[in-house]
């Protein structure tokens, strides 16, 4: 207590001195609190960690550039332990105790299904930066997201595979105990039916599985033109490398969605990743100057290149910043300012919100080429 008083006292006299010297009241940057609900432990810990790195980078850049006129972001980070229960507690704290202006998160869609309803009731704007499940933004007009859903990303990928690679008969392989991978499967199924492809076999795995050879052996015996996989990167890299080990020819492409778009795929699947195709929301090798700067800064700071989770979280902070600049800290004003964002330059490309508050920017079809993600056909 004593210490705090002394510090306050010192700050005060320092301020007085400054005023005295400069002869005018010092205009401080305006501070805005943003609550970040991330999964730092539990099943989503790997994603929460990379998101936090992306966010911290964006916040530091914004605050360094704030000067005396702009706004400074005061981040409040909380861990929801990948559990909806704790996510609710985090949101209640953000809304009622920290009184943040905006919430970014949570990491997992399952948690968002619950927490975003609380925010909606309280009129608190939420920007989701990684949720891709159906129905998140439909919770209400306070809920926005900058992550393209599998529903947007996948149809295009399937179309390209059919037209450019002559894929007609496919095998489908997905995780059936996780909201993200199951949602991706639904999107693939729809897109496959729309494109008129034939499904030879459907196989499933569970989160945490490491051995996929029984299913892949089954798939191999059907001789598909391509294998369509809905998985997060932990499982995706194992599936890719085991498929090649089992002798599924490199000419049979493996096609994935957002979950595949991570440097971890290149690292963990190694050479086997070559030729893997995926629909994605962010292209790491994009030549946009903003993106190049982001990739370089992130790599320098964290020692590893960013993945899509980091990119979307980083973009999310800038999208929020854009709204906060216009709206100040009033919730209603922030909400309408978010809705008006149009063609904002971000690392994801030109970014707008749809009338349904979902992300609108061009998805990419990527392919792994020479150990790097490249845009398909370039």
């Amino acid at each position: 207590m004593h210490n705090v008083q002394r510090r306050v006292g010192m700050t005060f006299s320092l301020c007085m001195a400054l005023i005295f010297i400069s002869g005018q009241v010092f205009a401080a940057a305006k501070e805005v609190k943003i609550g970040f609900a991330l999964s730092m432990t539990g099943g989503g810990a790997a994603y929460g960690a990379t998101q936090k790195n992306g966010i911290q980078l964006a916040v530091d850049e914004i605050n360094a550039a704030a000067g005396s006129e702009g706004i400074k972001i005061v981040p409040v980070f909380e861990d929801d332990a990948s559990l909806p229960q704790q996510g609710i507690n985090v949101f209640n704290k953000f809304i009622n105790a920290d009184k943040v202006s905006l919430i970014i998160g949570p990491t997992l869609s399952n948690t968002a299904q619950v927490t975003d309803r609380i925010a909606q009731q309280a009129g608190m704007p939420v920007l989701a930066v990684s949720n891709t499940a159906k129905g998140i933004t439909e919770i209400g007009d306070c809920i926005f997201r900058d992550s393209l859903t599998e529903m947007v990303v996948i149809p295009n990928t399937i179309k390209v595979a059919k037209e450019k690679l002559g894929v007609h008969k496919v095998a489908v392989f997905y995780g059936n105990d996780d909201a993200f991978t199951k949602g991706g499967y639904d999107a693939f199924k729809q897109a496959i039916a729309d494109a008129g492809l034939e499904v030879l076999t459907e196989q499933t795995f569970a989160k945490g599985d490491r051995d996929f050879s029984p299913q892949l052996t089954q798939i191999k015996s059907k001789n598909p033109d391509a294998i369509i996989v809905s998985a997060l990167v932990e499982e995706a890299s194992g599936i890719v490398s085991q498929a090649r080990q089992l002798g599924i020819a490199a000419t049979v492409p493996i096609i994935g969605g957002n979950g595949f778009n991570s440097p971890a795929l290149l690292k963990n699947a190694g050479e086997a990743a070559e030729g893997v195709m995926m629909g994605a929301s962010w292209n790491a090798s994009s030549s946009l100057p903003l993106n190049k700067k982001f990739v370089a800064a992130f790599t320098a700071r964290c020692g590893n290149p960013p993945d899509q989770f980091a990119a979307q979280a980083y973009a999310g902070v800038y999208i929020a910043y854009e709204a906060l600049k216009k709206a100040g800290s009033d919730h209603k004003a922030i909400q309408s300012a978010l809705g008006q964002i149009k063609d904002l330059d971000t690392v994801l490309g030109k970014f707008s919100f749809t009338s349904g508050r979902d992300a609108e920017h061009t998805p990419v079809v990527q392919v792994v080429k020479g150990g790097k993600f490249a845009v398909f056909g370039e």
Partner: protein, 296 residues
Amino acid sequence: MDLLAQQLINGLFIGSVYGLFAVGYTLVFGVLDILNLAHAAVFTLGGLLALWLVETGGLSIWLAFPVSVLCCGILGLLLDRVAFVPLRQRADSNFSGLISSIAMAIIFESAALGLFGARTVRFPAHTVPVHIWRWGGISITSLQVEIVAISLLLMVALTQFLNRARAGKAIRAVAENDRTSRLLGIHVDGIIAFTFFISSALGGAAGILFGLYFDSLSPDMGRSIELKGLAVIILGGMGSIPGAILGGLAFGLSEVLTVAITGTSNLRDAVAFTVLFAVLILRPSGLLGRKKMREA
């Protein structure tokens, strides 16, 4: 035909990894009648530590493997000292031991998370040179052969050790009856500590082999094998070493055959756990367990 042959190979391979994991589990159970739920956490730490030695320490895997296995053995001694020794005289020591092993599992997993991070990582490519053999539609990798060989070697060595060596015989004596063993002049506490050393070392070895083959290590990698390991030791008969090996193979094959026969994989885990459930009800002593239903 190729399909079935390949599936059988898949099953034998994963089964031998399950077996190696389960041997350590069942060894402690045989001696102490305690289910050591921290075994999966040691498995995880073994894999991650070996990776750290290879990647950061620059050791070759042939050196990192024994070093990490040794560290896991020492971790086993620590586990025994902290979580089991203080409970040994209690009337409900097998129940409280189960609980304290859960506590240690949580502590170990959080240590893995804190030390190595949450990301899924792998051994650098070509840590072990891999050659793939193909006959028609069947493929086997040299790594698979090596892993099965190492697993079998370790399991055979353990069996021989228990049957022949003095310390091994002492372990069996303590497993049979610790009071009598004490009377016979066996240093029971030392033997139990030694059992934990061997069990954890084997668990760590399983973690390294698992990580090497599947190219993915993460702090929660022990979770899915933990339940499967339980199924394996029940299937084989609690406390029986050959039972654990056989149980591992049987479990691996049952998983694979479910996929091969039904053509889908939705039911893979359900079938495995239903089998486990049925074995418990119909023949709780397992395939090779002692006839007497043990109170644990």
